[in-house]
């Protein structure tokens, strides 16, 4: 059976102090090759100081069709926001 190179997701930290961000994906035979290819494909102009590669099949994604039950419950919880609380104007630094 012929096997194709699997797909990898590439995350790059553009500089220290910032989080790794998803940059894109690529095909590679193994993690080492994914790392080398990621350097050449996504950081040719100093776009990064650190790279993560993750084989795409290990990522579990939420289903946008379930966005309702997933994310809407947060919408009616206004009491999680500071503006929900009525305080007199005289209160400073709060």
């Amino acid at each position: 059976m012929k096997k194709n190179w699997p797909l990898w997701e590439i995350f790059v930290r553009s500089k220290n102090g910032l989080e790794h961000r998803h940059f894109g994906s690529l095909h590679a035979a193994d993690a080492e090759m994914a790392m080398e290819n990621a350097r050449d494909v996504y950081t040719r102009r100093n776009e990064g100081v650190s790279i993560w590669v993750v084989e795409s099949k290990y990522i579990t994604a939420s289903n946008p069709e379930h966005n309702g039950e997933m994310f809407e419950p947060a919408q009616d919880k206004v009491y999680r926001h500071p503006t929900f609380y009525d305080l007199p104007d005289e209160v400073k630094h709060m």
Partner: protein
């Protein structure tokens, strides 16, 4: 799903795009949206990849180390563009292998400009200046297209293109400041690449079949003719600046419209090249197919090596 439900979903979908919301790969989308995007994104990816071939022709014969390093870097960027776009396309549920297969079998198209030969060093200048110049005009509006992965790939591509065009124009500029022969070489390259570059922006609006739907989906934001006019208006002064003549006797600035009027484009030539009868169609495809076929054992060996390593790791752990 019933027809009514689908209609409803389509309406919600179109409204999202109209509100400038992005569509992401796992979102519901009409089948036509998916197919149109697979076609356009893959065509775009193939163009980046085939586009490396005419320029690859001059890497070993670049006139200086500076030019060679720049040309290599430019071509490497084009490979990168192809890769960004292939991955964007794969998010729509088509595999890389299928995409290559479509290119190699001739089912998928790529930009017909890359079927012209690169016969002198000045062609490297003309390509960077004109072909990348036209590509930028085509691509900038796509940074805001509705399909998220395509838009993100285009942002990255556009950031890199401006160096391509500048290095090309600098080659032309240097030749124009050189000997008579060098200047003639630059003029000759412009003569050969001018019309194909205009054709690169696509058939005239009257002939263009997909425009209306593509406008709605933000795959297109300006019509082919508008883009072509923009390209001509910005390029003519650049030619004048370095003392080159655009090979069009009908080219004239129109004070009323504020744009250049230009001569008739030979659309027969364009369709001939699109249909596979350009000067280099066969050569380009055989270079691609050979690279793919001759590389097969390398891909297989890398996969076998990876699997062996994986097994070793598992054995060690247990």
């Amino acid at each position: 799903m019933s027809e009514k439900e689908i209609k409803n979903l389509e309406q919600i979908f179109e409204a999202r795009i109209a509100r400038d919301e992005k569509i992401e790969p796992k979102d519901w989308m009409p089948e036509k949206y998916r197919q149109t995007h697979i076609r356009q994104i893959s065509q775009h990816a193939h163009s980046e990849v085939v586009g490396m071939l005419p320029e690859g022709n001059w890497i070993t014969r670049a006139p200086s180390l500076r030019r060679k390093a720049a040309l290599l870097a430019k071509i490497q960027d084009e490979a990168g563009h192809g890769l960004y776009l292939y991955s964007a396309c794969e998010t729509l549920g088509i595999s890389r292998d299928e995409l290559y297969e479509q290119l190699h079998s001739g089912k998928a198209k790529y930009s017909s400009i890359f079927n012209y030969p690169t016969i002198t060093w000045a062609d490297m200048g003309a390509i960077g200046w004109l072909v990348d110049g036209a590509a930028i005009i085509n691509q900038v509006p796509l940074c805001n297209t509705s399909f998220g992965p395509y838009a993100r790939a285009m942002v990255r591509v556009c950031k890199e293109e401006s160096f391509h065009q500048r290095q090309g124009y600098e080659i032309m500029l240097t030749l124009c400041r050189g000997s008579e022969e060098q200047k003639a070489m630059a003029q000759d390259a412009l003569n050969r690449w001018w019309w194909p570059s205009l054709m690169m922006l696509g058939p005239t609006d009257a002939e263009s079949v997909h425009t209306e739907q593509s406008m709605k989906w933000k795959l297109k934001r300006k019509s082919n003719d508008e883009l072509r006019q923009q390209f001509i208006d910005q390029t003519v002064p650049q030619a004048e600046l370095i003392g080159l003549t655009i090979p069009d006797p009908d080219l004239k600035f129109n004070k009323e419209t504020g744009h250049y009027d230009f001569g008739e484009i030979d659309w027969d030539e364009f369709w001939q090249v699109v249909k596979g009868h350009g000067p280099c169609n066969k050569e380009r495809m055989s270079a691609r197919v050979n690279a793919w076929n001759n590389g097969e054992w390398v891909r297989d060996a890398a996969m076998a090596h990876a699997e062996k390593n994986e097994k070793r790791k598992v054995a060690k752990a247990s």
